[in-house]
Amino acid sequence: MSVYILRRLLLLIPVLLGVSMIVFGMVRMLPGDPAVAIAGVHATPEYIQHVRSQMGLDEPLPVQYGIFMRDLMRGDLGRSTRTRQPVLTEIWPRFINTMQLTAIALAIATVVGITAGVISATRPYSIYDQASMVLSLFGVSAPVFWLGLILMLIFAVNLGWLPSSGTGTIWHFILPSVTLAAQSTALVARMTRSSMLEVLGKDYIVTARSKGLTERVINIKHALRNALISIVTILGLRFGILLGGAVLTETVFSWPGVGRLMVDSILARDYPVVQGSVLMLAMLFVLINLFVDILYAFLDPQIQYE
């Protein structure tokens, strides 16, 4: 097992290097001259040139990448061209906000999705099953930003039960996290139902039943446990989608997260912040995937560690 984890950790190095190269390359390809952005549009050509050499922008690209990596290792992501603050100080509080939103959404998707899926699978083709599958079809197909606006219209504007935007209290979390969770909840419910149904048809379930175990024990201990492997895989994959959906959800609810910060920074040509945000989100996603793979190995005794 520890060999497997070590191997996975080593595989992480080329992936992270590749990610840093792509982010570095793409940010360099974004339109506009960062030196002009810092010096100001009305600066003299001499001053712009001064800024350019100060930022190392007149060095060849490989050298620039080297400097970028050296700074990155020290935890230095540069400074925002808008606020002149270090990028990390800009990003960190927003990163936490996005993490909170995504984590709550993932928790909702897991708990509600698995519960709905298990109930569906134990009573297939019942009214409950059909209703929950129709609902999950809506959940999979509705655009996240539209769902957010509709929920906001109903619960904040018309009923006035919940705040429509911003952060602060626990109530502020409800609409954004439910919005973000909807699609994943629907997929987890469908996945749980189908893998449970598959497992429930197997011989060892018949054996368990003939041993006189209660349906409850069979469903939870035998069926759900075996269905869990595919559910964990789906949840890991969902995390990336949730991070992407967070950009849209944050826009709808004016949630001060890193996704919205990234889009705002692209529009304002604040490229150091774009670079930092994408790097942080990609690294987070890579680490989550690693975690899922390891969890997967724990859950499935048949998996080979090589």
Partner: protein, 287 residues
């Protein structure tokens, strides 16, 4: 043509016809394509014509879905918007297919160093949350509808490579491929004639589901202001314009969103049904 007639006579098609859910999906898609083709003839108004005496009107006989902030008929704009969504879906999936199928097939068939390089590249691409990658690519290429389609297509490439590589690796060891090799057929011929046709079913199923995702993502880019630009009646962009008036005129937000949802649902239902029909082993996956 021959393939189509063969498909219509096949068991898979019979299963597809019996699948009520897939048929609902197909009806939705037929309506969607019909609207996309005939939009100029069935729309009651010009989707671009503004009327400043009729701004933000609620739905009425004259304007079935109401009017937007510039007094344009939302119903007519949604009908025209179907053209954009259908093109977005098909163009971005075509990009994914055009690059993903050959690269995935070669990588899976030949294996070795090529496969290793391709797979590391796929790993790196997949390390980015898809929507974020699409946002960055659009920003590099410049904001707009065409670039949004291309960006969504590029983001899909690694998934196609993975899917096709896996299938090719399974099929290439089957006996009929061995036989083709034994009679001295070249690798190119074997891939095209003996391997890829057997990977067709998963490719078709994945593509139809992927069209649904592409429509959602491109609408998301439009909503963020990175996709289609005003005055194009693309559904995501319409939603983002209507959003400012949600308190007073929510129909400007509600209807474009419903349109996106119905289109996406059509492709999802049809794709699920197709999967059940083409791969009976996975029958239980959806109901």
């Amino acid at each position: 043509m021959e393939m189509i007639t063969r498909f219509i006579k096949s068991d898979a098609f019979k299963r597809l016809k019996r699948n009520r859910v897939a048929m609902i999906g197909m009806i939705v898609l037929i309506i969607l394509f019909g609207v996309a083709i005939f939009a100029p003839y069935i729309a009651p108004h010009d989707p671009y014509s503004q009327d400043f005496f009729q701004t933000l009107q609620s739905p009425s006989w004259e304007y079935p879905f109401g009017t937007d902030d510039l007094g344009r008929c939302i119903f007519s704009r949604i009908l025209h918007g179907a053209r954009y969504s259908v093109s977005i879906g098909f163009i971005s999936v075509s990009i994914g297919l055009a690059v993903g199928v050959p690269v995935g097939a070669l990588s899976g068939y030949f294996g070795g160093k090529l496969d290793l390089i391709v797979q590391r590249f796929v790993d790196i691409m997949m390390a980015f949350p898809g929507m974020l990658l699409a946002i960055i690519i659009v920003s590099v290429m410049g904001v707009g509808l065409v670039n949004a389609m291309i960006a969504v297509g590029i983001v899909n490439i690694p998934q196609y490579i993975r899917l096709i590589r896996g299938d090719v690796m399974t099929v290439k060891n089957e006996e009929h491929v061995e036989a083709a090799r034994a009679i001295g057929r070249g690798d190119g011929m074997i891939i095209l004639k003996h391997v890829l046709p057997h990977c067709l079913a998963p490719i078709i199923v994945f593509s139809s589901l992927q069209i649904a995702t592409a429509i959602l993502w491109a609408a998301g880019l439009g909503f963020l202001g990175l996709g289609a630009q005003a005055p194009t009646p693309e559904w995501g962009a319409m939603l983002s314009q209507g959003r400012g008036y949600i308190r007073t005129a929510h129909h400007a937000t509600t209807f474009p969103g419903l349109a996106i949802m119905i289109a996406v649902m059509g492709f999802n239902l049809f794709g699920d049904g197709l999967r059940d029909a083409l791969d009976p082993r996975m029958r239980h996956d959806n109901a």
